[in-house]
């Protein structure tokens, strides 16, 4: 993907993924013979710039989590390059590193998981959970370790006294904060956030999103933010990549992608967002059929059986992901011609002020204290 370097200065790029594939073997029969492959990630290209948030969206099973895990080498890639600009050793292709060499890079790349109920080891105390990466890397021990853990907990809004309690004693939002503290422990550069707020209630979701944003600016973090809630992704991302059956079909800055999409699948996804405005009810055009199985994808453009703009060429040729200008990447044969519909801004819905009954409030009341 030379164009990434052409457009952005290459030192702005923290992570560049090229032709990444992750295929899982399908085994069957008594001898567990490999009879095929689930092409969970099937040749994707993208890059993340330093200090930005790249949102990654797409329907369930399209390969978002597999992508996140493979770039952290929690899964071994089938093919492709994962070039990471490590602050100490410079650019390295993680795909080629041996497990032993990875240890050096690992502290700079962390992950936060979706499910705050199963992602924390129930047998460890909060202090042990957050301190574990520090202990494993041999960064701190004894009182220094304890102090660092206390500091990290404080940072995410958990009182350090809670260090000796077990995860079950915390609510979903608090557990997610503990997961974030753990991910922060080693001062990482890149954090893969895999659906970090999907399991949380709206009000708690807002708290956690705000926390992630605060930490990003304070520690100069870069996020790969995986989620299926398109409103959340719009709020938090600088740029967004859309995945469909193991392939990135569109990637652009958030405004361009949401308001001027260039890929028919992106258009369909955006149309389906339920808008929180009862005065604007929509019945989006149905996408025919189902998401194809990544074990047996269609020919040509994977989206062609469901695409209302498909032509003959779409059945035969898979469109490559290409830059159509201003770093707007699209994998569609007709990206330039199609006039697609983006979302409408929801600024007209009134944001109701909170009622007050006391004597005139001293401070402006626009924001609810968090």
């Amino acid at each position: 993907m030379e164009t990434a370097r052409k457009n952005g200065k290459s030192d702005d790029i923290l992570l560049e993924v090229k032709g990444l594939k992750k295929h899982f073997p399908i085994q069957s029969g008594f001898l567990r013979r490999v009879t095929g492959y689930v092409k969970a990630v099937d040749g994707i290209d993208f890059y993340i710039k330093k200090g930005e948030t790249l949102g990654l969206v797409g329907e369930s099973g399209c390969g978002k989590s597999t992508t996140g895990r493979t770039i952290l080498r929690l899964l071994d890639p089938t093919a492709g390059e994962i070039v990471f600009d490590d602050p100490n050793i410079g650019k390295v292709d993680l795909a080629k590193l041996k497990r032993s060499q990875l240890k050096q890079v690992r502290p700079n790349m962390q992950i936060i998981f979706q499910d705050p109920f199963s992602s924390l080891n129930p047998r460890l105390t909060v202090g042990q959970i957050v301190g574990e990466p520090l202990a494993i890397q041999g960064v701190a021990s004894g009182q220094a370790l304890k102090d660092r853990v206390a500091e990290l907990l404080q940072e995410v809004g958990i009182r350090p006294e809670n260090m000796t309690r077990y995860p079950h004693a915390f609510s979903g939002g608090q557990r997610q904060r503990i997961g974030i503290a753990r991910a922060l422990a080693l001062n990482p550069k890149l954090i893969v956030c895999d659906e970090p707020v999907s399991a949380l209630d709206v009000s708690i979701q807002a708290q956690v999103l705000n926390l992630l944003e605060d930490l990003q600016s304070k520690y100069d973090l870069t996020y790969l933010f995986v989620a299926h809630d398109l409103s959340v992704v719009e709020h938090i991302s600088d740029r967004v990549a859309v995945m469909y059956v193991g392939y990135i079909v569109e990637m652009a800055d958030t405004d361009s992608l949401y308001y001027h999409p260039k890929h028919p699948y992106t258009e369909a996804l955006l149309a389906a967002i339920p808008k929180p405005d009862p005065r604007r009810r929509t019945r989006p055009v149905k996408l025919p059929g189902d998401v194809p199985s990544p074990a047996n994808p269609p020919s040509g453009c994977y989206f062609h059986p469901r695409c209302r703009y498909a032509k003959d060429i779409c059945k035969a040729e898979r469109p490559p992901l290409r830059d159509i200008g201003n770093e707007h990447w699209v994998a569609c044969h007709f990206a330039e011609e199609l006039q697609l519909q983006g979302v409408t801004r929801l600024s007209e819905i009134p944001v109701i002020e909170l009622p007050r009954r006391q004597a005139p409030a001293p401070a402006p009341t626009a924001a609810t204290p968090a």
Partner: protein, 347 residues
């Protein structure tokens, strides 16, 4: 006001309508656990008229699912007060569900013919040992027709209706062979197979992608239009509420704290909790790069009891000395007969 169904007196704040399909009054539900009593529902009242969709929203643990499960008599808690009047429209007969035996023939009949529930977790209502088709056919054979070929035909029809791409094949699949979204649709097909008078949908689309969600919502609207099914739609997605519901009940800690038409909930909400909830959702194209508003703190744990207004520890408008001591009553918002709120700011 006199209750049209039973002739009993009802509280004058409760909204009722001539053609209510279900009317829940002052429902109280407790769980007795080793750790103490959980007061899951503390006097919940609401009605759903024929063909209307009532949205029930609120943070997790506030009692949405338990309200639905109580109507089905499937809750494992103890109903210790109140009534649930259900009126079957074809017969016009009204029954108090709380008086029926949980697993008696009448309750089973209601569950099979009149009220269906779509559960939050699809695997709880699909049997892994039978094909999807068999399970739907069985429900149809039990309640609608004795003809096996006819049952099969109806099962395939309904699978087609829920948007299954290849209904014949899906009918012969076992639940584990389907994706999460397909399982959810299979369950919805099962719930719809009896053309219920009342459908209780507990977060039916929370686990689904937006595209599948849009499809399911469409389907539920068709059902509502064609058969006149009333829907109790439990969700915490305000977007889905705006698109689907006619009226909304907002719950907090086992109580309904605001009840209004869909338009009033979004354009003229009164309760500080409702307002904060609406202010904390990210809106497309609004305030990117700015902080989202959030409600401070969390829902208190279910074993504790809060004095006064249950929302007061988190409420930015709380009135010291009043809100922390006195539980506000449910009252009509001035000038309205369709909008109620439970907050001292409006008394």
């Amino acid at each position: 006001m006199t209750n049209a169904v039973t002739g009993a007196e009802t509280s004058n704040v409760q909204i009722v309508s001539e053609d209510d399909v279900v009317r829940v009054q002052d429902l109280k539900l407790n769980f007795y656990t080793a750790l103490g009593v959980v007061r899951a529902l503390n006097g919940v009242s609401f009605n759903i008229p024929r063909g209307k969709v009532l949205g029930v929203v609120g943070e997790s643990g506030c009692g949405k699912s338990q309200t639905g499960l109580s109507i089905m008599q499937l809750t494992t808690g103890r109903i210790e007060g109140g009534s649930i009047l259900f009126r079957e429209f074809n017969t016009g007969e009204a029954i108090d569900i709380t008086r029926l035996e949980k697993n008696g023939p009448e309750m089973r009949h209601i569950r099979g013919n009149n009220i269906s529930m779509i559960f939050q977790e699809p695997m709880t209502s699909l049997n892994p040992c039978y094909t999807v088709g068999n399970q739907i056919e069985e429900a149809i054979l039990l309640h609608q027709t004795q003809d096996k070929a006819e049952a099969r035909k109806r099962a395939v029809d309904i699978l087609q209706k829920v948007g299954m791409p290849n209904p014949e094949r899906i009918a012969d699949s076992y639940p584990h062979q389907l994706s999460g979204g397909m399982r959810q649709r299979a369950m919805i097909a099962m719930a719809l197979s009896c053309t219920p008078t009342l459908l209780i949908a507990d977060e039916p689309t929370t686990a689904l992608d937006v595209t599948t969600e849009a499809q399911i919502l469409d389907l539920m609207r068709d059902l509502q239009n064609e058969i006149g099914t009333s829907i109790m739609f439990i969700t915490h997605n305000m977007g889905v509420v705006a698109q689907m519901c006619d009226e909304v009940a907002v719950m907090y800690l086992g109580r309904i704290i605001e009840r209004a038409t869909i338009d009033d909930i979004f354009y003229d909400p009164k309760h500080p909790y409702t307002i904060s909830l609406l202010r904390s959702i990210p809106r497309l194209g609004v305030a990117r790069g700015e902080k989202l508003e959030s409600i401070k703190g969390t829902v208190p744990d279910p074993y504790s009891t809060v004095t006064g207004c249950p929302f007061h520890p988190r409420c930015p408008a709380a009135i010291p000395g009043l809100c922390d001591a006195v539980m506000p009553d449910e009252t009509f918002v001035a000038g309205s007969r369709t909008h109620t709120v439970r907050c001292h700011l409006y008394t």
